[in-house]
């Protein structure tokens, strides 16, 4: 387990470096290397989660450290999917180092704080949390595309000399793929919220509280994305406005995920 963890970390680190190298040199062999290193890291990461699953006898999703590891896993999954379909590697420069940091935190810190009470650990919880964390991963990808869009747009407007040689996706690609990530994210988040609500209503292990800080923040996040998608269809809020929405949405997720966990009381452990 120790060894596997270190190996995974090392491979993610190598993949991060390869991605950065590709972005600066543009050599396609490096891009292939970056993709395969990430794929290998992802496979090991999957084994790591599976081992913890077997070790604990249940899906490791009861502690916030587990949720970070799962989030990193989901981001890489989405990235690999996009990279495989579009041959685009630039997003990896953002998400692979993030995944590296995430699993470093998830597996190096001791799980001292208590996880969720055992009576809550069931399939409801499993689907509620995994869906929501998958949606977070999709929103983070959308955030990455938003940032890349803004960088590239600035270069085009400034007529930067480095423009032609960079390896960022085109504005159209960032905008379109970012938008799709957002749509997928909203669908997953909606399902996650519904399952959470139905669970509290029918499972009766918990009382449904509208005023729970996590719920309020999550609904606010949901609203940001839904409004952006809606206005995009109706009035053509694409391009820079969509990129800003992705960034604001990401900030909202940070508040929902980390802010509430650290500073506000909630029935949600994470």
């Amino acid at each position: 387990m120790e060894f596997l963890f270190l190996l995974t970390l090392l491979i993610y680190l190598a993949a991060s470096i390869l991605h950065a190298l590709f972005l600066t040199t543009g050599i396609s062999r490096i891009s292939e290397g970056a993709f395969w290193a990430t794929t290998m890291g992802f496979a090991l990461h999957t084994i790591l989660i599976a081992l913890r699953w077997i070790g604990q006898g249940r899906f490791p999703m009861a502690h916030w450290l587990d949720s970070i590891s799962f989030l990193a896993w989901a981001i890489i999954l989405i990235y690999l999917g996009i990279a495989y379909m579009t041959r685009m590697r630039a997003l990896g420069v953002f998400v692979v180092p993030a995944a590296f940091a995430a699993i470093l935190i998830a597996y190096a810190l001791p799980q001292d704080a208590p996880g969720l009470p055992a009576n809550l650990q069931n399939y409801w919880l499993l689907s509620h949390t995994t869906l929501i964390f998958l949606s977070y991963a999709a929103f983070i990808a959308a955030f990455g595309f938003g940032v890349m869009y803004l960088i590239e747009e600035k270069k085009i407007r400034r007529k930067a000399q480095t423009l032609i040689h960079d390896h960022f996706p085109s504005l159209g690609s960032s905008d379109e793929i970012g938008h799709r990530c957002m749509v997928v994210g909203v669908i997953l988040l909606t399902l996650g919220i519904i399952i959470g609500a139905v669970w509290t209503k029918y499972a009766r292990e918990l009382e449904w509280r509208w005023l729970d800080s996590k719920i309020i923040f999550t609904l606010a996040t949901w609203l940001i994305y839904v409004i952006q998608i809606g206005i995009r269809q109706a009035l053509g809020w694409r391009g820079r406005k969509a990129a800003y929405s992705a960034i604001i949405g990401f900030a909202a997720i940070l508040c929902t995920y980390a802010g509430v966990n650290l500073f506000l009381p909630s029935i949600h452990a994470f």
């Binding site: 590239e152 085009i156 407007r157 007529k159 000399q161 423009l163 032609i164 040689h165 085109s170 504005l171 159209g172 690609s173 905008d175 379109e176 009035l235 053509g236 809020w237 694409r238 391009g239 820079r240 406005k241």
Partner: protein
């Protein structure tokens, strides 16, 4: 050993109307080969004739300048030799090798790094090969030149980056749009440059062309070339609603496309990205348009800057490529020279032995030596030849490691001093 000569003219040394006069058609090339061989005594020849250059490469056993090549060109194309000399360059041996490598590496091209020249060199060589005009020396030279061209292409970025306005527009469009497929190009006004730019965009996937012109007939005319749709020009710019890429080049003295109407157009097209290219001077598009969200405006200077920066990049790469060419040319030429050493030594030996043999026969006749004495004298003379030649031969062999050309001078000096005429060109046995 064959000497390599080349005579040529290119965009560097001659204007187009002169290059035209010197150009060879495919049929003319095939006519020229027997002429060069029979009348001008060049055993081998390759003729490279493109729109930017005409070059004749030839190899001859006879030592001497490339003057016969100039005579040939002058006679063949009926150009007086004075004019010919003014617009042409002539290279010999190592310089000819280096020049051909420069050409095949696209370092001598008008647009450095342009990809066609390598294929043209290959075609010229294939033609000569098929006609039996190219032999051992030029076969080696041209196979090497083609491989040098390929090496430069793979090891440097000399061929990357757009170096024309049309290509720059395509590269920029690819930075803005996910793909050029299903994109609509609008040509506003008319002009060679705008049509050329549109052509590049269409070749790279843009599927629809619309043409707007104040004179509708003119719009129809241009639209026909692209299988496009002519539209009447109107002040509200409504014809631009479906346009993703706008190329404007009218001779209007004021801004035709202004911020307000275009912002309205953008709203109508739901803010889908629009790339506007203003190649008119004076400008057609108000610079303020470039501030509209999702509209990106490049004028002729901006495109020129892209091209200039790419050319600068290519020049940097050309320096690296130049070093590769230099290294290959020296390597190739010294390899070629290496082949000359052994035949020279053999010829030298033969000549000495010949002299000794003749003198020995004369001596034997006069002195009436006994067979035993004769054998003694014979072996003594053999030893003298061997010892006399030992040091120079040893030095000559050692000079073969010398790549600064010194070896070449020694060999030439030896051949001239001793009038070595029957130096064989036995390249195949010493490879």
């Amino acid at each position: 050993m064959n000497q390599i000569h080349s005579v040529g003219t290119s965009h560097h040394t001659a204007p187009l109307d002169f290059r035209e006069k010197l150009a060879f058609s495919q049929t003319q090339i095939l006519q020229a080969f027997p002429l060069l061989r029979e009348q001008y005594h060049f055993q081998e020849a390759v003729i490279l004739s493109t729109c930017n250059r005409v070059e004749v490469y030839a190899a001859s056993e006879v030592a001497g300048g490339g003057a016969p090549l100039l005579d040939f060109l002058s006679a063949y194309h009926h150009i007086d030799s004075q004019t010919l000399k003014k617009f042409t360059y002539a290279h010999q041996d190592e310089d000819a090798v280096r020049h051909l490598f420069d050409v095949s590496a696209s370092l001598d091209s008008m647009v450095v790094g342009e990809p066609q020249i390598l294929g043209q060199v290959k075609d010229a060589y294939d033609t000569a090969l098929a006609a039996g005009a190219s032999g051992q020396t030029l076969n080696r030279l041209f196979s090497k030149a083609i491989s040098v061209g390929k090496r430069v292409r793979t090891e440097t970025n000399i061929a990357s980056g757009a170096v024309s306005i049309g290509f720059a527009a395509v590269e920029l469009a690819k930075k803005i749009f996910q793909s050029l497929k299903n994109k609509t190009v609008a040509i506003v006004g008319a002009g060679e440059m705008s049509e050329l730019t549109a052509q590049h965009l269409v070749e790279n996937g843009a599927s629809k062309v619309i043409v707007a012109n104040r004179t509708f007939e003119r719009a129809v005319e241009i639209a026909e070339k692209f299988d496009g749709i002519p539209l009447p020009y109107d002040e509200s710019l409504s014809f631009l609603v479906d346009a993703d890429i706008v190329i404007s080049s009218t001779d209007a003295p004021h801004y035709l496309i202004q911020r307000k109407p275009l912002a309205e157009v953008m709203r109508k097209r739901k803010n889908r990205h629009m790339f506007l290219i203003d190649i008119a001077v004076p400008r057609d598009i108000d610079p303020e348009v470039g501030k509209i969200e999702n509209a990106f405006l490049y004028n002729i200077d901006d495109l020129d800057a892209v091209v200039a920066s790419n050319i600068k990049d290519r020049q940097r790469e050309a320096e690296i490529a130049g070093r590769i060419v230099e290294e290959e040319a020296i390597g190739f030429y010294s390899q070629l020279q290496l082949l000359k050493v052994t035949p020279t030594i053999k010829a030298l030996n033969r000549q000495f032995q010949g002299v000794v043999e003749r003198e020995l026969q004369a001596c034997i006749k006069k002195a009436e030596l006994s067979p035993e004495q004769r054998a003694h004298v014979q072996s003594m003379t053999q030893a003298i030849v061997k010892k006399l030649l030992h040091q120079p031969v040893k030095n000559l062999r050692q000079k073969t490691n010398d790549i600064d050309g010194g070896r070449v001078r020694y060999i030439q000096a030896l051949q001239e001093l001793f009038a070595l005429k029957d130096v064989e060109n036995r390249t195949e046995t010493e490879d």
